[in-house]
C-alpha cells in the first residue's frame, strides 16, 4: 500500500518548513510589559516574595508588613522568641532591643480559645499584645558592644544556631503562601489588589543580583526604625532559604512547623512541633555564610563594607575575599567584550545584533531557492561584489545577511564606536570591506555570516572565554588582561593591554590586537573542516541516531511521524522497523523510543544520500557504513531516520580546537584531531584528504578505518 499525500500533509510540511526556517531570537530580552502580560495570561502563582509590589512604596509596605506578620507569628512562640531576640541583639548591636522599646507580640493563643488573631491586628500590625512573654530583660543579657568598623570581628555562629527554627517557620509561611486578604488588612494598603495583580509579576523576573542581593539588603540598610530593621532581617533570612531551595531543592522541611496562615487554626497550635531539627539548621547555617558570599561576589569590597557592614564582618571573619572587581576592571572587561564582538562581525560576519534581523536568506530545496525577504537592490548589489548571481539565487553559498544593532548601523557609527574602544590607529587599520562585512552605498553596515556560526551551532563557533578572570593586573596606569579564544581553527590565550585616555579605557595593544585581530581564516582550511564536520554528522547519525545535527544544515527539514501514534507508515517501513528497532519479550513487541523522520529534499532518497556523502567520503565507505543500520531505514527508495536525539547516549565528538592540518608534497592533506566525549577528547583520529571539484574528500585515515566501519 502506498502512501497518499493529502492537502493536510502539504500544509503541515509547509508549516514545519517555515517554522524551522525562522531562527529563534535568542537575544530577545522580554520587556517588563510583555512579561507581565504573559504572566497574567498564564496566571502564574509565584511565591510570596515574588508577588510583592514593584514600586518602592509597595515594596516597602509589603516587606515591612510581611516581615511584621512573620516575625510576630514566630515571636508568639517563646522557644523561638528568646534566642531570636538574643541573636538580633548580638549581631546588630546598634539596633538592640531595649526595655524601652514598645515591642509586643501576637497573642499566643489559649488552646481553648478559637479566636486566634484579634481584630487589633487589622489596624495595628506592629503593636500586638502578649500577656505572657513581654519581658524586656530578655534582650538585655544579649546586647553586645559595638564592634569596630575597621576590623572584621564577627562572633555569631553560636547565635546563628537560634535561627534555624525561625527561618524554618518563616520559610514555610512564604513557601506555602500567605492570606492576601489578611495581608491587605495588615498593610492598610488600598492598593493591595494592585500589588497582587500588577506589581507582583515584576520582581520575579528581575535578575537575582538586583532583586535578592541588592534590593532587600539595601532596604534593610536604609531602614531607620529599629524594630522594622530587625523584622526585615528575619524576612531576608526567609528569602534566602527560599532562594536556596529553588536552586538546590535540598532544604529539608516539614509542614509540622506552623506553615501557613491560610491553614491556620487555633487548635493546630498545640500540635506544632517545635523540636530542633538539626539537619535543617545545620544546612541553613552553612548556606547563610555562602549566601552572603554570593552577594559579595557581585559587589566590590568597598561597596560591601560601606553598605552592608554586618555582612562584611561575617564573611571577612571566615576568610572570604572574592569580591567583585572594581568598576575600572568591570569597564575593562566591557571594553574587551565589545571590541571582541565587533571584531567578530568583521572577521567572520557574526553580527553585533539581533540574529532575527537577517534580511536575505536562501535555504536549500534541492532544485530551487527561497528568500525570506527580497534583498533589495542595495543589498543585492553589494552582495554581487562577492557572489555571482547564480550563487545568490541558486546555490548553497547564498548568504544570510544581518543588520548591526542600533547605534552602529552605519559605517560611520560603527567606526566611531570601535574607536571609542581602541586606539585610533588600530581602528583605522582594521575595518575593511570583505565578504563578511558589507558596507552599502548608503552607509549601512551588514554582515554576512558565511560560515553560519550561529546557525550551525557547531564547534566552529568562535568562543570568547570567561571575562571574570581576564584582568590580571591593574597598576592604575595600565590594565593587562588575558582572554581565551576558541577560534575556528585554534584555541589559545591572548593578552590585552588597556590604558585610560581622557577618562575612557581603551585597548592599546597586546596579542589580541597584534596576533588575533587581523588574523584571517584560510578558506581552504575551512573547506577541509566542513568535510570533516559532514563526516562526523554521518558518524553521529549512524552510531547514535542523532538526527539533530542535520536540522541546522539546510538540507533537511525533517518530515516526522510519531511512530507509536501513526500506524500508517509508508509501505515497507514498518517491516524495516521490525527488523531493526524492535525487540520482543514474552510475545510483546517493543519498539525503540524515537521518531521516524524523513529528509525533505536533497537527501530524501537513497541515491541522493549516497551522492551527497560520496562527495566527502569514498562511496564504498558510505554504502558499507549505512548498510543494515538500525537508525537508517530505506523504504521504496526513500530514506527514513529513526531519530534518537532525545534519548541520545554520550557521543563522541571531534575536538576541532585540537585539529592540525599538514600538506604533503603529493597533494595529500593530513588532518589530525582528538576525539572523545565533550569534556574529555582522549584519542587521536586522522583524516587523509584530497582536493576535488566539490571541495575536499576524505580518502583515508583512522576516522574511516576505525569509526566509519559497519556498526
Amino acid at each position: 500500500m502506498s502512501y497518499k499525500y493529502t492537502l493536510k500533509d502539504v500544509l503541515l510540511e509547509a508549516g514545519v518548513k517555515e517554522y524551522y526556517s525562522i531562527p529563534e531570537d535568542k537575544n530577545w530580552q522580554r520587556s517588563e510589559k510583555h512579561t507581565k502580560a504573559m504572566n497574567k495570561l498564564f496566571d502564574k502563582q509565584l511565591p510570596l516574595y515574588k508577588r510583592i509590589g514593584s514600586s518602592p512604596l509597595y515594596k516597602g509596605i509589603t516587606i515591612a508588613a510581611a516581615a511584621a506578620l512573620i516575625f510576630g507569628a514566630a515571636m508568639a512562640i517563646k522557644p523561638i522568641r528568646e534566642p531570636v531576640t538574643a541573636f538580633l541583639g548580638s549581631i546588630f548591636g546598634k539596633t538592640e532591643i531595649t526595655d524601652t522599646d514598645e515591642i509586643t507580640y501576637i497573642t499566643e493563643p489559649d488552646e481553648t480559645d478559637p479566636a486566634v488573631i484579634t481584630d487589633t491586628e487589622k489596624t495595628e500590625p506592629a503593636v500586638i499584645t502578649d500577656t505572657e512573654t513581654t519581658e524586656p530583660e530578655e534582650t538585655e543579657d544579649h546586647t553586645e558592644t559595638e564592634q569596630s568598623e575597621t576590623e572584621p570581628d564577627f562572633d555569631g555562629w553560636d547565635k546563628l544556631d537560634t535561627q534555624g527554627r525561625v527561618e524554618r517557620a518563616v520559610y514555610e509561611i512564604t513557601h506555602y503562601g500567605i492570606n492576601y486578604q489578611r495581608f491587605r488588612y495588615l498593610c492598610g494598603d488600598e492598593h493591595a489588589d494592585d500589588i497582587y495583580d500588577d506589581g507582583g509579576y515584576y520582581l520575579g523576573d528581575e535578575s537575582a543580583d538586583n532583586f535578592t542581593y541588592g534590593y532587600f539588603l539595601d532596604l534593610y540598610d536604609t531602614e531607620a526604625d529599629p524594630l522594622r530593621k530587625q523584622l526585615m532581617f528575619v524576612y531576608i533570612s526567609s528569602f534566602l532559604v527560599d532562594t536556596w531551595n529553588d536552586d538546590t531543592r535540598t532544604v529539608p522541611y516539614t509542614t509540622k512547623y506552623y506553615p501557613c496562615f491560610d491553614r491556620f487554626k487555633a487548635d493546630s497550635l498545640p500540635r506544632l512541633d517545635l523540636s530542633y531539627n538539626e539537619e535543617c539548621d545545620k544546612w541553613i547555617h552553612e548556606h547563610y555564610y555562602n549566601a552572603f558570599c554570593n552577594y559579595a561576589r557581585y559587589m566590590t569590597e568597598e561597596d560591601v563594607k560601606t553598605k552592608y557592614l554586618p555582612s562584611y564582618k561575617l564573611i571577612k571573619k571566615y576568610g572570604f575575599d572574592d569580591f567583585l572587581t572594581s568598576k575600572r576592571t568591570q569597564k575593562a572587561n566591557f571594553v574587551i567584550n565589545e571590541f571582541f564582538n565587533m571584531a567578530l562581525s568583521v572577521k567572520y560576519g557574526i553580527a553585533v545584533s539581533d540574529p532575527s534581523s537577517n534580511i536575505y536568506c536562501r535555504f536549500d530545496e534541492g532544485d530551487g531557492y527561497a528568500r525570506i525577504y527580497e534583498p533589495g537592490d542595495a543589498v543585492y548589489t553589494a552582495l554581487l561584489k562577492y557572489y555571482t548571481k547564480d550563487e545568490l539565487d541558486h546555490s548553497d553559498s547564498a548568504p544570510v545577511v544581518y543588520e548591526q544593532r542600533e547605534g552602529i548601523k552605519t559605517i560611520d557609527e560603527w567606526k566611531e564606536y570601535f574607536k571609542s574602544l581602541t586606539a585610533k590607529s588600530i581602528a583605522d587599520d582594521f575595518v575593511k570591506e570583505n565578504r563578511c562585512f558589507l558596507v552599502l552605498e548608503d552607509g549601512r553596515v551588514l554582515t554576512s555570516d558565511q560560515y553560519r556560526f550561529f546557525n550551525t551551532n557547531n564547534l566552529q563557533t568562535p568562543f570568547f572565554g570567561e571575562l571574570s578572570d581576564s584582568v590580571v593586573s591593574d597598576d592604575n596606569g595600565a590594565i593587562t588582561a588575558i582572554v581565551f579564544i576558541n577560534d575556528v581553527d585554534q584555541e589559545r590565550d591572548y593578552t590585552v593591554e588597556l590604558k585610560e585616555e581622557k577618562g575612557e579605557l581603551k585597548i592599546t595593544g597586546g596579542t589580541l590586537v597584534t596576533e588575533w585581530l587581523n588574523r584571517t581564516l584560510s578558506s581552504e582550511e575551512c573547506e577541509i573542516r566542513d568535510s570533516i564536520i559532514d563526516a562526523e554528522k554521518l558518524f553521529h547519525l549512524m552510531r547514535f541516531g542523532l538526527v539533530s545535527d542535520f536540522r541546522y544544515y539546510g538540507c533537511d527539514t525533517a518530515y516526522s511521524i510519531e511512530y507509536n501514534n501513526n500506524p500508517s507508515l509508508p509501505e515497507g517501513l514498518e517491516e524495516k522497523l521490525d527488523q531493526t528497532a524492535l525487540r520482543e519479550e514474552d510475545g510483546e513487541k517493543y519498539y525503540m523510543t524515537g521518531t521516524v523522520r524523513r529528509f525533505s529534499y536533497g537527501l530524501s532518497t537513497y541515491d541522493n544520500f549516497i551522492r551527497y556523502f560520496s562527495k566527502i567520503l569514498p562511496e564504498d565507505t558510505v554504502k558499507n557504513y549505512i548498510k543494515e543500520n538500525k537508525y537508517f531505514l530505506i523504504a521504496d527508495g526513500d530514506v527514513y531516520l529513526l531519530d534518537m536525539t532525545d534519548q541520545i547516549e554520550p557521543r563522541l565528538l571531534i575536538d576541532y580546537g585540537s585539529m592540525k592540518i599538514t600538506k604533503e608534497e603529493d597533494g595529500l592533506i593530513t588532518a589530525s584531531a582528538m576525539i572523545g566525549d565533550a569534556w574529555d577528547p582522549e584519542r587521536e583520529v586522522t583524516f587523509e584528504l584530497v582536493k576535488t571539484d566539490d571541495g575536499y574528500r576524505i580518502v583515508g585515515g583512522t576516522f574511516i578505518s576505525e569509526y566509519l566501519t559497519t556498526i
Binding site: 492537502l7 509547509a14 518548513k17 517554522y19
Partner: protein
Amino acid sequence: MLLFTAEALNENDKQRLTLMYEKYSRRMYTAAKRILNSGEDAEDAVQNAFVSVAKRMGSINIYDEDALCGYLIAVVKNEATDVLRKRKNTVPEDELADTPDSFDTVFETEKREVFEYAVKIMTQMDDIYRAPLYLNVVMGYSPKETADVLKRAPATVRVQISRAKQMLAEKLKEAGYEL
C-alpha cells in the same frame, strides 16, 4: 490590555499554554518582528497570538508539534499583520466576501514529486490565503472559528480558503501535474 485572562483556563491548560510559550515564542517573536520591524510591536503580536491560542486551548493538541508550529506561526503572523494594519490605520479588505465560493477540489496524490511541488507552492503562498486554509484543514476549524482567530469576516475566510485551494490546483496544473 488583555481582555482574555487566565481565569477561563483550567490548570492543565495554563500549564500547556506556558509550555507552548516557552518552546515556541522566540521563533514567533522573530516572525512577527520581520513583519513589524519593531521589537515592541512584535511582543504585542506574540502576546495577542497567545491570547488567541488560549481561547482555543481545548481544541489544540500540544503534542502534535508539526501541526502546532505551523499554527502558531500562522497566528502570530496574522497578529503582526493586524498590528501593522492598525499602525497604518487601514481597514481589512472585505470585498472578497462577494466572490463566489465554489472551488473545493480535493488534493490527494501518491507521488512524492507532486507532494513536494505542492509544498513549495504552499510555502510561497501569501499568508492571507494560506493561514485560513491551514486553520481549516490542519486544525479542523470551521470557517467561523477560523474567521474568529484571524479577525476576518467568515464569508471572507470561506472565499480565501476556496481561493487558496484554487491557486494550488492552478499552479500544479501549470506545472503539468493533474490532481
